[in-house]
Symmetry: C2
Subunit: 253 residues, 2 copies
């Protein structure tokens, strides 16, 4: 479980580029001119896949790059002084992680692959240079960071105000929305994280997560088969989510 060398490229020539990447519409939801996409392409490094459990970067490590998930899932987490881990986020394909490292030039969290995962590495210094030439790229980065702030604040509402049922429902519906946006089923998907990781993330004990999910199934809200989740009663689940999810709900141009 060592941090993989940031310089290790993986078959760079053969892997798809931004133009061909099915995620580009999500990853770059701006109308970049072809030449601009090319310029972006040139700074992006496509790394060898991470195996389950491998670290993409480590808390305290010098910040170099932000990463876009291509396939797989990652979690980011802190290690508290009592030695336990606190998960601060899960990252699905098309999503960007590492932005929190800009401030101190150090990653404040570690990022670990939950399954075999491929990412695009975007050296931030290069990206920042490029924003001087492509103003819309700059705006896009501002927006991505702003969005992250919104999302985290919704998470704060979840942690501070919601009970166990609402937390679990919100978590599942959040994943549902994210899968839907990527063109996957909004009602049927596979959890790449363990119950324990869900509980950790939601501020709940594992047992509580398990109990809530079982009860949801009994009540016909969802169907659980191990890590496979099917959302059966979408309206009722939405109702449980409750509080307005300002940032998550609104579709972005």
């Amino acid at each position: 479980m060592s941090v993989i060398n940031a310089n290790t490229r993986f078959n760079s020539k053969l892997t798809s580029q931004c133009q061909n990447c099915s995620l580009s519409a999500l990853c770059l939801p701006i109308a970049l001119a072809d030449e601009d996409v090319n310029r972006l392409d040139q700074i992006i490094e496509r790394k060898r896949p991470l195996k389950k459990g491998e670290l993409l970067f480590r808390q305290g490590q010098e910040f170099d790059s932000v990463f876009a998930v291509r396939t797989g899932t990652l979690k980011t987490f802190n290690i508290t002084n009592t030695g336990e881990e606190q998960i601060t986020g899960f990252y699905c394909p098309s999503e960007l992680l590492g932005l929190s490292g800009i401030d101190n030039n150090t990653y404040p969290v570690s990022a670990k692959a939950l399954e075999t995962t491929t990412v695009c590495e975007i050296p931030f210094a290069h990206l920042e240079q490029l924003t001087a030439q492509i103003p819309s790229l700059k705006h896009q980065i501002f927006r991505l960071m702003s969005r992250k702030i919104c999302d985290d604040q919704q998470m704060m509402v979840l942690l501070g105000k919601k009970n166990a049922d609402e937390k679990v429902a919100s978590f599942l519906m959040n994943l549902s929305h994210r899968f839907k946006k990527r063109g996957y089923s909004a009602t049927s998907f596979r959890l790449s994280m363990s119950r324990s990781e869900i509980g950790n993330y939601l501020g709940l004990a594992v047992e509580t997560v398990s109990r809530v999910m079982t009860r949801f199934q009994k009540n016909g809200l969802i169907d659980v088969d191990g890590k496979e989740i099917t959302i059966v009663d979408l309206p009722e689940m939405e109702k449980l989510v409750g509080v307005v999810e300002e940032c998550g709900k609104i579709e972005h141009a």
Copy 2:
């Protein structure tokens, strides 16, 4: 309690400018050339003071500007679908708010003055233009947003993992650090928010906040006199804070 007109300037010529502002070192912790500070100055509007309870901006309102607090304090909050408010942050002098509005071009939260408060309004479109001419300003904005992401994640750890004692201790120590950074006493300060607002922010009932503070006083950790707080046993308080506060602790250049 209406939103004040964003165009209302307050005595713009007479109020201090960035060069003279005692907060500039915090507000602009970068070595901007004099001419650059001037350019920044020109886009900043200094608004008339907000009275306690007035809104600086309202959830759902179109995003125009970010704001730097000059004096006073603000809170940002969401209104949940059950009509209750969820406070997402408190803002002290030199701190910037409104960044979460960039993403949707809409403020996802409302901002309300907790006391008489003055702010500098920075129209974001102008600021963004200016970043094209001043790369270090652009970097500074990236850093500020990155910092906000770090801070919010620390807040997520607090809400998800800490008990009532640790939450209250963390809250007080966080304020202490912020006051210290601004040159005020780290051990003696005035809370501009009510117990109810603290509880709301920390995910605790008012009564719990009150009880914890009373107990802290009994145990010689702090001294409470209404809204006046004195931190008596700083090491013990730091110990209670517990988990590593990666972002908050490190001093920024």
